[in-house]
Each structure stands twice: as C-alpha cells, then as structure tokens.
Assembly symmetry: D2
Homo-oligomer: 139 residues x 4
Amino acid sequence: MSAHESTLTLRVRYSETDQMGTFYNSRALEWFECGRTDYLRSIGLPYAEMESRGVMLPVVEAHVEYLGRARYDDELRVMTTAKMAGRVRLRCDVRVEHADGRGPVARGYTVHAVTDASGTPCRPPDWLTEALDSAQESP
Amino acid sequence: MSAHESTLTLRVRYSETDQMGTFYNSRALEWFECGRTDYLRSIGLPYAEMESRGVMLPVVEAHVEYLGRARYDDELRVMTTAKMAGRVRLRCDVRVEHADGRGPVARGYTVHAVTDASGTPCRPPDWLTEALDSAQESP
Amino acid sequence: MSAHESTLTLRVRYSETDQMGTFYNSRALEWFECGRTDYLRSIGLPYAEMESRGVMLPVVEAHVEYLGRARYDDELRVMTTAKMAGRVRLRCDVRVEHADGRGPVARGYTVHAVTDASGTPCRPPDWLTEALDSAQESP
Amino acid sequence: MSAHESTLTLRVRYSETDQMGTFYNSRALEWFECGRTDYLRSIGLPYAEMESRGVMLPVVEAHVEYLGRARYDDELRVMTTAKMAGRVRLRCDVRVEHADGRGPVARGYTVHAVTDASGTPCRPPDWLTEALDSAQESP
C-alpha cells in the first residue's frame, strides 16, 4: 500500500522562461501550487471550495531542489502527495519531471498552516484530516 | 500649463526577462501598475488607502506599444499621468524609457472602471475626480 | 469558409489572482501567449521549432479588453486565430471565455514583428506566410 | 567583524498579491533575486556583467520560511549576504522585513552552481571567490 499521488501535466510557458533559456526558479513554486490544487481536487476537496468554506492553507515554508533544465513548451508532469505534519500543519511533497522520460526537473515541498478566513490559525477541520488520511491509505 | 506627471525609477528584474533576452511582454502592464501606484501617491491618494475606503479601480482596457529593448538590470523610468475619461472611467497614460537616455521602451494606457468594494460600478467619489482635476491643472 | 481557430483550455492559477479576488490584469497577456503557442502548433509550426530555426516573433503591440471576472480554479477557453497584417507583421486575435458557458472574460490582440535570432527584423519566411494563409482558408 | 550585508528597499506590487490579500508565496524568491542582484553590485560584481563575462549562477536549491504578512504597497527591506559553500557552490542568505519596523516577512536562502555561458558547471573564477571572501571580512 502506498500513498495516493496526483499527476498533472503542463507545458512550460514562454512567460516562465528567463534569459538563461530555462524556467525562472520561482516558477517551480507556482507549479507546486498547480500540483496542490490538482491533489486536493483528486481527493474530493477542491481548494476553491475549501476557501469558500472558510479554510485557508497559507504556505509557511517552501523548499525546492532544481534537478534538470526544462525549456519553453516542454511537457512536464507534476506529481503531488500531501499529509498532515503534526496536528496543525499540512505538508505537500512534489516532484516535477519531463513527460517524455528525459528525467527530473525539480522536487521539493511546501508546509501549510491551517487558518480561518481571517487568517487566524485554527485546528484543521475533521473533513480535511480524514480526507488526507484516507488518501494516505489508498492502494 | 501642463498636466502633472509622476516619475518612478525601477530596474528590470531577472524574473522579468524571458529567453529572448529582454523583458517578457506582460511585464509592461506590471510596470504600468507601478506607475499608477506612484502617480496616485503623488497626488495624495495612495491606492492602498482608496481600496481601504472601498473604492477600487479594476482595469477594463489596456494597450501597450513596445518601442525598444530593455535587459536585466537596466534602469528604467516610468512616467505616468491620469485623468477622467468620461464620467465613470479613469485613464492612465504611461511611458517607459531607459533612465540613461538610450530611448523609449514602451508606452500605452490603461482604462479603469470605478467600483465599490463588492466590484459594483459606482460614480467616482468627488475627492477622486477633484484630485485628478487639480493634478491636470498643476503647473 | 472561416478562418482556423485553435482552442486551449486552462485553469486560473492561484498565482494569477490578486487581492481583488480575480485574475491580475497582466495574466491575460500570458494566456494570449498560451493561445499563440497552441495556435502555431495547431497549424504545424510549433513556436519552439520556429525559434530553433532562427525565426522570432517579438510582440510589438498588445491590446486587451477585460469583459468579465474569472476566479481561481475557473476553467477558461482561449480561442486564437492569426494572420499576416501587412507584409512584415503577424497579428493574433484572442478571446478568453468561461468553459462552462458563463460568458466572456477577455479579448484582444497582439501584433508581432518577424526577426532573425539576433533580433533584426526580417521578411517572414515563405513557410510561415504559407502556413498562415492555408489556415485562413481552412474550412 | 561581521560579514557584509546589502539592504534593498522595495514596495509590494499589486501584481505580487493574491486573493488571500498578502503576497503570493513565489514572489519571495523574486525578492531574493532582487537582493542577490543588489548584493553582487554592492561588492563590485554586478551580475549582468558577470553573465556578459560568461559566468552564470543558476539556482540549484531554494528555501523560504514565511514569517509575517505583507500587503500591497508595504515597504520592505531585503537584506542579503553571500559566501562560497564548499568549493563550487555559492550560498545567499536573505531576510525580508517591514521597513517600518513591523517585523519579519520572510527569510531563507538560495544555493547556486557556477557555470559557463553554455550552462556547464565550472570552477568559480578567482575574481568571484576573492570578492566574496573580502566581503565576508569587511568590518
């Protein structure tokens, strides 16, 4: 049994390149966000809905390792898992790789607080922890 | 007598370049926004304060002409004027040029609706039109 | 007979929102670029290949009208056509609308010069004008 | 004796906010880049010049801790130091805080490879390591 992982495919946009000819480093965090959005939808908790229920997941820590080049229009796969890290934090682990098998592009993680709509930290609601736990145990 | 114009200086960020080696085209609209922010502050109406008073200026139209290259770390000047365009629209005209006299980089304009905090169009408040009109008549 | 049009679907990223709660205005130009990339691929001329053949299409003019709100995670359709505008310019027309039928989000155009790899304007190569003309005449 | 630190002041742009009302998380890496640019200039090695001499510093690792909110138009200070990390890597440490004393916003670091213009890793040139070492020993 292994944890559920979501896979999103995207193409490097021209706007995401820089003059070095590959993607600009901060774009990895935007792709991690796309991966998170995709993961939460895949476990039945679209983040847009979570926010409209008054639960927000601001990033409190982020880490990226850059493993390979990716150029404009390259097709990439973003693979994401998530789980509770302690009682009040959520952690997402993300890998980005070339869709054509040319290897890894980046990997890293983000750690999230759970807050109410006003930004005040709160206990994660049960529906959130239960959905995350179920996904961890999925075959 | 000529209209008031504000001048902001900024440097091209590495994140603003693309693989063509100059700034990516959409960055011009971000610089126009920096120019607007600067202009409104210069006439005593910081936009952050306007929003906290419940007045928003969403962009309804934007136009950019690209006139010259600008590279990473080039110092640019952003020159902005603004005035009412009809009774319910605000128009900002912006020029971006090299600070060292190498010539123009971009010019264009944005047109803005005036809305309340919920996004509903509203009549521009008197303090806004009066401040804009005064700036037009400034020596 | 009508001109060929390409259709790309994308979702609004969290990174593309701003504090007004909709997409930040410059993102429209990034979506226009996604549409262009998609259009050129659809007529057999992937732009990444064009650049590797030494032909670049820098933006010289851009225009956007903002027609409706789009929020985080909304699915959008980007519809693009392109044609020569005079002998040395390419023009792309783009419409962005909600994929679920809620209506238009933005429309506009970009005008492009044709340059060689060094950025010097050049005559558009025949394979480019012919591919664009063929697409205009497609059923 | 303590290491040289550069300080850059910037304002949060509207384009850098997201619908949570503060800056979007990836912008921190763009501010780190502004800090690096500023640091390298402050020790006499403008990065634009380094690249034109054929030395590039691609990011191989990045880490950010988010410590406090910052809103549109808030004035921030970006404080940066840099040093060699082993023989072939450069490390930049960055802190971002409110200019008005309201406290920290983010801190973190980036690790950089040293490559030639083609992207091939190379030994850092002496003028680079010497300038970094001198700055470490500055009063």
